[in-house]
Symmetry: C2
C-alpha cells in the first residue's frame, strides 16, 4: 500500500471514529508512512519538527497510537526500552534480528517457524493470537 492510499485509509478511519482531521496529524502520518525504519517517537518528532517546529511530542504520540489502533502502524518493543513503530509490511508478517553492537535490524519471514509455533501452542492447549520472535547477535559487519 502506498502513502497516498494509506492517507485515504487513515481518513476513512478518522471519519468512522467521528474524529476531526488536522494538519498536524496528516503531516505526522505522512512523515511516518514515508519512513522505512523502525522509528521511535523521538526520531519521528525530530523529523516532523524540521518542517513544523511547533508540533508537540504529545501529538506525535497520539497520532502513532491512532495509527496503531487503526492498523496502519505496528508498534515494536526491542530491547532498548523505547517503543518503535514500523509501517505495514508489504508481504505479510515478519520477525526481526537485531545486531547487539550496531543496532542494525534485519527482517525475515519463516513459514516453518510459524507453523511450529502453532503446533507447539496447540500441544499446550493454547491458541496463539500473536507472537514475538527476536534474534539478537552480530551482523556481518560487527561479527
Amino acid at each position: 500500500m502506498n502513502t497516498s492510499k494509506k492517507m485515504e485509509t487513515l481518513k476513512s478511519y478518522i471519519e468512522s471514529k467521528g474524529l476531526k482531521s488536522t494538519a498536524q496529524r496528516d503531516y505526522i502520518a505522512d512523515t511516518f508512512f514515508k519512513s522505512n525504519t523502525h522509528i521511535s517517537l523521538e526520531e519521528l518528532l525530530k523529523k516532523v519538527k524540521r518542517k513544523t517546529p511547533n508540533i508537540g511530542y504529545a501529538t506525535v504520540y497520539r497520532t502513532m497510537k491512532l495509527l496503531t489502533e487503526g492498523g496502519l502502524a505496528i508498534s515494536r518493543q526491542f530491547g532498548d526500552g523505547q517503543t518503535r513503530y514500523e509501517n505495514l509490511p508489504e508481504y505479510g508478517h515478519h520477525d526481526h534480528i537485531i545486531c547487539v553492537k550496531c543496532s542494525k535490524i534485519a527482517e525475515f519471514q519463516n513459514q516453518k517457524i510459524e507453523e511450529l509455533q502453532s503446533e507447539t501452542a496447540k500441544k499446550l492447549g493454547f491458541t496463539v493470537i500473536n507472537h514475538k520472535l527476536e534474534l539478537y547477535g552480530y551482523c556481518s559487519g560487527c561479527a
Copy 2:
C-alpha cells in the same frame, strides 16, 4: 541445581568479585531460588518482607541484578512492563507462551525452531547469541 548448590555458587561469585556477604542478600537469594515462578521484584520483595520486614526494595533489586550477572537468574520481559526473574531451567533453554487473559505462562522447548532460527540468521549474515520467542494467546481455560 538445588538451592544449596546455588547458594554455594553465589558465595563463590561474591568472593570472586571481592564483595561481602550479608544476611539480606542471602535471604533474598534463597527466597528467589525457592520460588518457581516468573517473579517480579515487587512480588519477591513481598515474600522477603514476610520474614524480614525491614528489607528494602533497592536491596532486592541489587540482589537480583547480581544473580543475573552471576548467571544464577534469568531476567525476562513479557508484555506487562515489569521485569520478571526466573531460576535457571533444569533442562536447558526454554521459551514461553502467555495467556493474554489470565496471564498464565507455559514453557516449551522446540529444538527444530531453534535450528531454524540459526539457519535464518546465518542466511542474513548474522550470528545469534540469544533470542526471544514469546507466543501470546488463550490458554485452555480462557479460550
